[in-house]
Every structure is written in C-alpha cells, then in structure tokens.
C-alpha cells in the first residue's frame, strides 16, 4: 500500500521532470530551426501578416484606453501632491517599462497565441503533420519554426505600438482634456525616461515575452491530443500557461533590470 503510493508519487514526479526536459529540448529545437526559417522569408512574412497585422487593431485600441486610464488615474493621484506636471513621466515610464511589454504580451497570447495553438493542434488532429513526416518534411521546421520567428518579431513591435499609442492616450486625457501644461508634460517625460535603461529594457522584455508566448502556444498545440476536445483544452492551457509565464518572467526581469540602481 505504502509502496504503491510512493511509486505513484515517484512516477508523477518523473513524468513532470520528463515533460520539462522534453519542453526544453523542443525549445532548443525551435531556436535551432529559426535561422533556417528566416532563409525562407515567404513563410515568415505570411505568418507575420497573420500574427502581427491582425493583432494591430486590438493592441492599438487597448493601448489607447490604457493610456486614457493612466492619464486620469495618474492625474488624480499626482494632483494631491501638487505635482501634476509629472503626469507625462508617470504615463511614459509605466507604459514603457511594464504595461507595454506585459499587457501587450497578454493580449498577444490571447489574440495570436490561441490561434497558433488551435491551428497547429488541428493540423495535428487532421494528421497533416504526420503526412508531412511521411513526405520527409520536418513539420517543426516547415510549420512551427516560421510561426515562432514571426511571433518573436511581431511582439516587440506590437509592444512598442502599445506604448506609443498609450503615451498619446495619456497626452489626450492629461493635456487636452484636463489641461496639464503640455511643455511640462513632455519635458518631464524626456528628462525621466532613459533610452537604454527604460525603453531598451522594455524592448528586451518584450522580446523575451515573444519567445515565451510563441513557444508555449506552439508547444501545447504540437503536443495536443489529436481530438477536438484535446485541441480546445490545449488552447485554454496555452493561454493560461503563457500568461502566467509572462507575469512570472516579468517579475524576474524587472528585478534583474531595475533592481539595483
């Protein structure tokens, strides 16, 4: 009885460790195949269109509204301390450092990650991937790698669009509606936002999140059970796992980048 229980725990732990190892191997394989995918830009461009262009609208609209809210909330808080002029700095720093990369990645996982997972999962369920293997075409190289590369390229650009639109949103609410002095708004922002420390680190963050979102979406799709239920479950798992991983890594990256100053 006791031995049985121990055996089950052991098997479960072993299974988990094995999955981590398999996932890591899969990630390295994607990285390894990524340059080869760049050699066939047609496939990557198609995926960029599918992943990037189609996400642009949701990213832009969300960025605008996040900027609006930041402008309003920031103004009410700052005004209590008589420093409403710092609104531009507050809006820009929070967008560039955190909200742009993180919210961008969360939206990206929901908008593009799910469709990647579902697409790959359905290809697997329809045995298209097996058919490719039959024809001696590596499905990871032909199907997954271009999508991986496209997602890693698209997310930093989308995050930058998010931040830029958000800054404009903050400007619209702060300067146009509330009436914060425009000169102070921009000059405080420019004095406080560093190109490398803030914008550069934000871009690095979004590149890392691009790797995470793309890897998780493709991995769960590729490993989905080839049934309608399996694909739907993989899609859900993918969004949840990618979002949690993004938030977790965001904390680690923030601690590394902005911790000691």
């Amino acid at each position: 009885m006791l031995i049985d229980a121990l055996e089950r725990v052991g098997a479960a732990v072993r299974g988990r460790v094995e999955r981590v190892g398999y996932g890591a191997r899969f990630f390295v394989r994607l990285l390894w195949l990524a340059p080869a995918a760049l050699a066939r830009p047609r496939l990557v461009v198609d995926q960029l269109h599918f992943i990037g262009n189609r996400s642009l609208s949701i990213i832009t609209v969300s960025g605008l509204f996040v900027g609006f809210v930041l402008g309003l909330q920031g103004y009410y808080t700052l005004q209590r301390y008589g420093s409403a002029e710092a609104l531009g700095l507050l809006v820009a720093l929070s967008l560039v450092r955190e909200l742009g990369p993180v919210v961008g990645a969360l939206l990206f996982a929901g908008r593009a990650g799910t469709s990647l997972t579902a697409e790959v999962g359905l290809m697997k369920a329809g045995e298209q991937l097996s058919a490719m293997e039959m024809m001696a075409v590596d499905p990871v190289a032909r199907v997954l790698a271009p999508r991986f590369v496209a997602a890693v390229i698209a997310l930093p650009l989308l995050a930058a669009v998010f931040s830029a639109v958000g800054v404009i949103g903050g400007w619209v609410v702060g300067v146009q509606l509330i009436g914060v002095d425009p000169g102070a708004f921009w000059s405080q922002m420019q004095a406080g936002v560093d190109v490398f420390d803030d914008i550069g680190n934000g871009v690095i963050k979004s590149v890392v999140f691009g790797f995470i979102c793309a890897f998780v979406a493709l991995y769960v799709g590729y490993e989905a059970r080839p049934t309608p239920e399996g694909v739907s479950r993989a899609t859900t798992t993918g969004v949840v796992a990618a979002s949690l991983a993004v938030l977790g890594f965001d904390f680690i990256l923030t601690a590394l980048m902005f911790g000691t100053d």
Partner: protein, 157 residues
C-alpha cells in the same frame, strides 16, 4: 501573385508602424534627442560629497546643458569622490571654473552647475576643476539648524 504582393505590403506597413512607434518613444518620450551627439572632452573634479548625483546627470552652465556626468568614482587616498564630466567640445571653460552639485527644485534630480571664472587659459582634456562645492545633504542642514537653535537658546538668560 497580386495577393502575395498585397500581403508583403501589409506586413511591410506593420513593421514600419512598429519601428515608427519605437522611434517615437525614443525621440519624444525618451531623452535621445537631448543627447549631445557632438564630440566631447572630459574634465574631472573632486567632491567631498556627491549626494544623489547619478551618472548621465546633466552638467549645466547658466542653466544650459553643456555636458553629462560620465563617471563617478571614489579616491581612497583623499577620501573624496572623483566625478568625470563629458563636456561638449564647442564649449570651453576657464581653468578657475567652479563646479557645484545642485538640485533642480526642492526634491528634483541633482545636476552639476559650472560657473565660469576669469582666467585666460581654458580647461583641456583630463584637467581637474579645483573649486568644487558638494551636494547639500538635508540631514546635515537640519542638524546644523538644530545646533544653531540650541546655541541661541543657551545664550539667552
């Protein structure tokens, strides 16, 4: 083929929009436009206390940015801070220029103020600014104030 080209154009637009956003952030929100792109020369100064001065803080003369703080170090022979400034090549300062660490506003960031002297000779690469005034440390100021008050109170009968 026509459809292909359409997709290429759309993707190109997407990439351009993303890059434009980055450039907008760097120029409009960041301080890239404030960078002195011109050549610089370095001069040094020793301070008893640099307070909260940071690398890349502005160096101003008459309120105009003329350079940036390039490095802050510690000299364990004099027990002073050595601050290196990168000044723009086109601005020359006399050798008896004095450097002060100032604060913009009551709680703002700290910067270095240069006040030109009257010497004929100008500072060159690697020269040392001899006249310096340290950052004001609020605790010392308050301590001084309390001490003065106590002394005043003590002298009264």
């Amino acid at each position: 083929m026509a459809q292909r080209r359409g997709i290429d154009v759309l993707v190109g637009l997407f990439v351009l929009v993303g890059l434009a956003a980055l450039v907008f952030l760097a120029l409009k929100a960041g301080n890239l436009s404030g960078f002195s792109i011109g050549p610089t020369y370095e001069v040094r100064a020793r301070f008893d206390n640099v307070g909260g001065l940071k690398v890349r803080a502005p160096v101003k003369s008459a309120g105009v940015v003329v350079g940036r703080v390039a490095a802050i170090g510690f000299d364990d022979r004099t027990y002073q801070a050595t601050v290196t400034f990168a000044l723009e090549e086109r601005f020359r300062f006399p050798t008896d220029t004095s450097a002060k660490i100032l604060t913009s506003g009551l709680l703002g960031e700290q910067y270095v103020g240069l006040e030109a002297g009257a010497e004929e000779k100008v500072l060159g690469r690697g020269d040392l600014i001899r006249l310096t005034q340290s950052a004001v440390v609020l605790e010392n100021l308050i301590g001084q104030f309390l001490f003065d008050k106590a002394a005043e109170g003590g002298s009264k009968p």
